[in-house]
């Protein structure tokens, strides 16, 4: 028979149907068609690689130290991003003992009967194993890693569009969708509890005086949705700014709100339970440093 139809070879590679007897016979004698089919099959196999179960070897902590030092990165970023201990870099807990990691209190608008914050009692750094990240676990233990956590979170319906809502993260007074917005404050958001994504928040002032907070925090695998809060320094008072979608988003700060009295920006994982209070499960948090 003549060479196989290339369209058909593509469908065979995708496993849409089995080869017919005639095709099998042709393929056994025709290197050209066989190579084409094999190339397609390898491509399909790569596309369908399931990241779950891959064994990866995490680099030792000295690697990040070297990168951090060579590039002169901010001191706040000094802890190895792969190490469980870097999760302790919460500005709210820096001066607290390790076993008292969560200053959220069940008062004010916080859910009065909520469960205690997620972590079991900790016994030093060995007990700081986060809930959702096998990479961190492996890094701490210095063993081969299962990559399931991060890799199953990988894009399948891949997209390369910028964040869906709000302006792009600003880098200065003239950035973002608001060319005349002035940056009047910012916060580095560091992960809390078993969470791992880090990000940042910028406070901008628009020409009409409106203040907005632009929050950038990479998407995570969650059972609930992400809500952005401003809190008092001791977190006894919290004001909800709204729901954070994917990527970066701007939130209007209520005009009468004194940011000096609410300097903590917190992003929580909220279950779909209709309860308007903070879930007590914070994903990331940072303290706003205000300019001027």
């Amino acid at each position: 028979m003549a060479h196989c139809d290339e369209d058909v070879l593509a469908l065979l590679a995708l496993g849409e149907r089995d080869t017919t007897a005639a095709e099998t016979s042709h393929l056994s004698g025709c290197g050209e068609c066989r190579d084409l089919l094999e190339g397609f099959r390898r491509t399909v196999a790569v596309a369908r690689v399931d990241p779950a179960g891959a064994e990866l070897v995490a680099p030792g902590g000295h690697n990040w130290t070297a990168i951090h030092g060579t590039l002169g990165l901010a001191p706040a970023l000094a802890p190895d991003p792969l190490a469980a201990d870097s999760l302790a870099a919460d500005p709210m807990t820096d001066d607290r003992p390790d076993d008292d990691p969560t200053p959220l209190r069940r008062s004010g608008n916080l859910r009065p009967a909520g469960p205690p914050p997620e972590d079991p009692p900790r016994t030093g750094s060995a007990g700081r194993l986060p809930r959702r990240s096998p990479w961190l676990l492996g890094a701490a233990a210095g063993i081969l890693l299962g990559a399931a956590g991060a890799w199953t979170a990988w894009s399948v319906l891949g997209q390369s569009t910028p964040p869906a809502a709000g302006p792009a993260p600003s880098t200065g007074p003239a950035a973002g969708d608001s060319p005349t917005a002035a940056v009047i404050g910012e916060a580095v958001l560091t992960p809390l509890g078993g969470h791992s994504a880090r990000g940042r928040a910028l406070v901008e002032q628009l020409p009409d005086g409106t203040r907005q907070v632009v929050v950038t925090l990479p998407q995570q695998q969650l059972t609930g949705y992400r809500e952005v809060w401003l809190g008092s320094a001791d977190l006894s008072r919290m004001v909800s700014l709204g729901v954070l979608g994917q990527g970066s988003q701007a939130f209007v700060v209520p005009g009468g709100l004194d940011l000096a009295a609410y300097p903590v920006l917190d992003v929580s994982d909220e279950p779909y339970d209709g309860d308007p209070a903070h879930s007590l499960d914070s994903l990331a948090r940072g303290k706003l440093s205000l300019r001027g």
Partner: protein, 189 residues
């Protein structure tokens, strides 16, 4: 097949391009284990794998102004830098045997003997995701339905309301393009 929810999203790409340091830390957290494993398997030496890991992130950060989030995803870009660094390291050694061994390691082998995906297969998957993005629609959509939802070209045709012949030729052309991207990626060796 996998959760649709992503831990990586385009905001990391954009923040990286804009020089926000947290994005580098985030990229390191999510990709350093893969990059380190690729280097370790190719170079078979811990010190050399550490060197490559460090060089990749240092180089990437220093040349971040040449990174365009609109045209490439950061993971694929970093994997590309990793392949170059591994190649450089092997060239420095100038051991033909190493080159052959590395070439063996870097061809797509989807899974190891235990059926687990290899680091190289994961890296290729990232490269391929990047190329899928570049296909544009409807090609990218067609290929995702074929790859991940296991739809036949018939089903894709009715789902997207496109003629059967169009779907078939898109599938063939897109597969050929994805394949050649993978070959180019490995061509350095």
């Amino acid at each position: 097949m996998e959760a649709v929810v992503r831990e990586w999203d385009a905001s990391i790409d954009h923040a990286f391009a804009q020089g926000e340091e947290w994005a580098l830390a985030e990229a390191y957290r999510l990709l350093a284990p893969l990059i380190h494993t690729l280097a370790l398997r190719a170079l078979c030496e811990h010190g050399a794998a550490d060197d490559v890991t460090q060089e990749v992130f240092i180089r990437a950060w220093k040349s971040r102004t040449s990174y365009r989030p609109e045209t490439a995803r950061l993971p694929a870009w970093l994997v590309g830098i990793t392949r170059n660094k591994i190649y450089d390291a092997l060239s420095d050694r100038a051991h033909r045997r190493d080159l052959e061994q590395a070439a063996l390691h870097l061809v797509p082998v989807p899974a190891d003997a235990a059926g687990k995906p290899t680091a190289e297969a994961l890296a290729d998957r990232l490269t391929l995701e990047d190329e899928l993005d570049r296909l544009g629609d409807p090609q990218a959509r067609i290929m995702r339905l074929a790859f991940y939802e296991d739809l036949t070209h018939d089903q894709i045709s009715s789902r997207l309301n496109l003629p059967l012949g169009t779907v078939k030729s898109h599938i063939r052309r897109s597969l050929a393009r994805l394949r050649s991207r993978l070959e180019v990626e490995h061509g350095a060796l």
